[in-house]
C-alpha cells in the first residue's frame, strides 16, 4: 500500500492580530507550523499503513525554510517528506496551488490513497481535497472519522452536519480527514532518533514539476483582492481580586447598566 498525505505549514490563526486603528491584519511574525488537522491526517495515514503495510510519503507545499518542521511527522511514522517550495510564498490562489499539488502527486507515482485534512487550520476553505479529487478523476471520501481497509476496499465513516454516513470505495481514492478525528500519537525518543535518518526531499515547482508561477497565474479569475481584519468592539472590563460576592455584584451592576437585567429595589 502506498499512501500520500498532504500537509500544510499553517499560520496559528489565534495569533493573527488586527490593528484596531487601520483594521489591517498583522500576519508578520505569526507562528507557522504543521497544522493540527494535518497531524490528524498523518495519524490516520500511519494507522492505515500499520494495518496494511507499505509506505507513507508526506507532501507539503511550503517555504524551503520549513525543511526542519517535519520532525514530528517523521517520528509519527511518515517514511519521507516531499517539500515543494511554494512559488507563491503562501499567497497562491487555490486553483494554482491544487495544480502544483496535482503535478507533485502524479510525479510521486501510482498510489493507493491520497489523504488530506478536510480544511487547513488557517485558510479553512475546505477546497484542496475536492479540487484534487476532481483533477485526478478519483473518488473522494470526505470528512472521514473511522477508516479501515477490508478486502481491498476502504471503509469510512463520514462526519456530516446531521448524520454519520458509512461508505466504502475501491482504491485508489482521495480521503479528507474530519477535525480531531485522529488525535496524533505521542512519539518516543526512539521515534525521534529514527526520524532523523528519514529524508526531506526539496522540490521546486520548476524542477521536477516543470511548472512556473507565471503560467499558473494565467488561470486566475481574480481582477483584484484585498484583506482586512475584523475589529472586535468589546468593552474589555475586567473584575478581579475581590470576593466572589463582590465580583458578582460588579457584573450584575454592569448588566443592569446595559439594561440586560432590570427590576429590583
Amino acid at each position: 500500500m502506498k499512501i500520500l498525505a498532504l500537509i500544510k505549514i499553517s499560520l496559528d490563526v489565534a495569533e493573527i492580530k488586527v490593528d484596531p486603528a487601520t483594521a489591517q491584519l498583522r500576519l508578520e511574525g505569526v507562528p507557522e507550523k504543521v497544522g493540527n488537522i494535518d497531524k490528524n491526517t498523518i495519524e490516520a495515514a500511519v494507522r492505515l499503513k500499520e494495518a496494511a503495510g507499505g509506505t507513507l510519503t508526506a507532501v507539503c507545499l511550503g517555504p524551503a525554510s520549513a525543511k526542519d518542521s517535519f520532525k514530528d511527522v517523521l517520528a509519527m511514522g511518515a517514511d519521507d517528506v516531499t517539500l515543494i517550495e511554494d512559488p507563491f510564498g503562501g499567497k497562491g490562489e487555490p486553483g494554482a496551488v491544487v495544480r502544483i499539488l496535482e503535478a507533485a502527486v502524479r510525479k510521486l507515482g501510482p498510489f493507493d490513497l491520497l489523504m488530506a485534512g478536510f480544511a487547513s487550520d488557517d485558510g479553512y476553505t475546505y477546497q484542496v481535497a475536492p479540487r484534487l479529487a476532481e483533477r485526478l478523476g478519483l473518488p473522494l471520501v470526505s470528512y472521514a472519522r473511522q477508516l479501515s481497509l477490508e478486502g481491498g476496499k476502504l471503509k469510512a465513516d463520514r462526519d456530516l452536519d446531521d448524520a454519520i454516513q458509512t461508505v466504502q470505495v475501491d482504491l485508489p481514492a482521495v480521503v479528507s480527514v474530519a477535525e480531531e478525528a485522529f488525535p496524533p500519537r505521542r512519539t518516543t525518543l526512539m521515534d525521534a532518533i529514527k526520524a532523523k535518518k528519514k529524508p526531506v526531499n526539496l522540490w521546486t515547482a520548476a524542477d521536477p514539476l516543470g511548472l512556473s508561477a507565471e503560467e499558473l497565474a494565467k488561470n486566475s479569475r481574480l481582477a483584484s483582492s484585498s484583506q482586512i481584519g475584523i475589529v472586535v468592539h468589546r468593552k474589555g472590563q475586567v473584575f478581579k481580586g475581590q470576593s466572589a460576592a463582590v465580583l458578582a455584584d460588579k457584573l450584575v451592576d454592569a448588566l443592569v447598566e446595559d439594561k440586560i437585567l432590570k427590576g429590583g429595589a
Binding site: 479540487r131 473522494l140 461508505v167 479569475r221 484585498s226 472590563q237 475586567v238 454592569a254 448588566l255 432590570k262
Partner: protein, 323 residues
Amino acid sequence: MSANQILVFSEKASLLRELLGKARQEADALGWQVAAVVFEGDPAAASLGSAGADLVYPVPPAAGESPERLLNALAEVARQAQPAFILMGATKVGMEAAASLAERLDAAYAPWTVRFQIDPTTCAATAQCMLFASSGMATYQFTPGLVVLTSAPGVFPKPAEVEKTARVVSLPLAQPQGRLEVLGSREKVRGATSLEDARFVVDVGQGVKQREDLALVESVASLLGGQLGCSRPVSSDRDWFPEWLGLSGKKVKPDLCLCVGVSGAVQHLVGIRDSQRIAAVNNDEGAPIFNQADYGVVADLYEFLPAFSERIRARGLRPTWTA
C-alpha cells in the same frame, strides 16, 4: 440557455430559502432569473417561488445519496442551464460540492461569502468572504465569467414570503453515478431547543470539570431563561452535548453570552461573537477570552456562579427578555 441566471442550491431547506432571498435581490437589480436545484419529489419545491425562485430544476433523488452523485447532477444542470452565477450553502455537503463543481466547470470560487454584488454592465462579481477562520475578511473582484460562491446559514436573512410560483423545469437528466457505495447512515443526536434563537446562552468550556457540575451551570441558565452551549472539546471529547458553538458548529447571537471556563480559542469565538454582550468567568487571567469579552471576571467559577445567582435573586432582578 441563460447567461443571466443565478443558480442556487442547498440540501438544507432553511438555508436554501435564505440564499434564494439574497439571489432574488441581486437578480431584481439586474433583471436576471433565479433558479433553484431541488430533489425530485421534494414537497417544498413548489413553495420556493415564495422565497424568490423563478425556476426549479428537479434532480433525481439519487443525487442526494453521495457527494459524487450530487456533483454529477449539479454539473449536468449547470451544463444545460448555463447560469452566470452559482450560490450554494456552506454546509459540509455544500462546501465539498461547490469546490468540486468550480474545479469541474473551471469557474472562479470563493467560500464563506457574506456579501456579493454583480456589476450590471460587466456582469463581473465582487464577493466579501470570511478569512483565516473568520479573523479577517477578503474582498475578491472577479473577472467576468462563471463564479461559484458558498454562504453559511444565517448570513442572509430569511426572505419575506412573496406571492409567486416557481416554474418547474424538468431537464433531461440521467441517473447520476458515483463510485462511493453507501452502506448506512445514522442521524446525529440534535439539541431539542433552538440555541440560535436564545436571548441568553451560558457557554460551557473545559474549565467546568465534571459532568455533575453542569447542574450549577444549568441553574444560572434557568434563572435567566437561557440555554447551554459549549466549546467543541466539551462536545466531541466529553460528549456532554450533541452540538458545540464555533466555526465548525453553531453560531449564536444572544443578548448575553456568559462564558464559564472557556479559554477562548479563535475557532470557538466565531460561534459567539455576534452576541450583544459577552461576559466571561475564568480563573486564568491570561485566558484569551478576556480579550474578546465585554466583562471579564477572574474567579473560580465554582465560587462565582453561586454568588452571581445569589446576588441576582437578592437584588430582585430579572432579565429584560422575560415579561
